[in-house]
Amino acid sequence: MLQIALYFALLSLVSVGGMPSVMPEMQRIVVDVEHWLTAPEFTQLFALAQAAPGPNVLVTALVGWKVAGIPGGLLALSAFCLPAGALAYTIGQLWDRFRDAEWRKTFQRALVPVTIGFVLSGGYLLGTPHGLEWRSVLIMAASAAILFAAKVNPLWILAGGGVLGALFF
């Protein structure tokens, strides 16, 4: 259990861009190195964390839970969130302190396009679990267009996506 906490704490600090960037490494440790889970089990946990509400870091709680029950889940989640959280706290402080500094304004403008690109990539990764095929693209494009163009509660869009999923897959 301590081992899993240590691994996740290390992963936490390199998870730039969030969960998707460290998924392959996490799978390698959990499945190939430590044999805590099989590959299909791991994939299923990730799909579940994806479909459940909440940040997809919750997959770390599910992995910990499979290995060592609910305490394992809480420990794994904390281990993954605390180091990065402490860093965000400190950097956030500096960020606000230099609010009017010229370099910060430049940096801030510079980050926006990169962020948009990463959010697009994350959406594309989540939206094409079976690769690039017409059913996924249709559901993905329709939900993106509705969210962009109409002021509709996203829960309705998701419900619609569930219905289309039932019809298509």
Partner: protein, 181 residues
């Protein structure tokens, strides 16, 4: 309308609880909706700025957002309260779903619905990215080009984030100094 930060830790907690509670298919679209559209804690530009910082930092993006804005408004207490508010309900639900799903995982209908919801979640991310890009389309064509280049190299070029992030950040910094992004 001027954005107004939350007035109490309770308001902060409830706001993040309501983000976590509804965040099926990804937290980001809900974070935008609650903080910018419903409660008007942040102006759209502030949101984009905080999110940009948090995506650059390691860790869960919206988790980082909760820590950064919670600290900005209420210090350490705010950071902790916002983060716990965000995580509380999703944690309970993910465990509940994992227990339930174990019984129904083989049902093709359940699988199909989960797949559909997952794909739609991806679409919501794309819609959120479009919302963020909209103000830049006419005035900052370089920003759009760079965003598309990041998307292409990661999603289709399958390049590692560890490579794309520093290179893209450097290019973007140079463009920003020339006032192009």
């Amino acid at each position: 309308m001027e954005p107004t930060p939350p007035k109490s830790l309770w308001e902060l907690y409830w706001g993040f609880l309501s983000i976590g509670a509804r965040s099926f298919g990804g937290v980001l679209p809900w974070a935008h909706r609650v903080m910018v559209e419903e409660r008007r804690w942040l102006a759209p530009a502030d949101f984009a700025e905080v999110l940009a910082l948090c995506q650059f930092l390691p860790g869960p993006n919206v988790g980082n957002v909760s820590i950064v804005v919670g600290r900005r408004w209420f210090g350490l207490k705010g950071a902790i309260v916002a983060f716990l508010g965000l995580m509380a309900l999703p944690l309970v639900w993910v465990f509940a779903m994992a227990l339930l799903y174990a019984d129904y995982a083989t049902d093709p209908m359940v699988r199909a619905v989960v797949t559909g919801v997952g794909i739609t979640g991806g679409g919501l991310f794309i819609g959120t990215a479009l919302k963020m890009a909209k103000p830049l389309i006419k005035s900052r064509p370089w920003a759009i080009a760079l965003a598309l280049a990041c998307f292409g190299t990661i999603s289709f070029g399958r390049l590692s984030l560890f490579l794309v992030l520093p290179v893209a950040a450097l290019i973007s910094w140079l463009l920003a100094r020339r006032n192009l992004v």
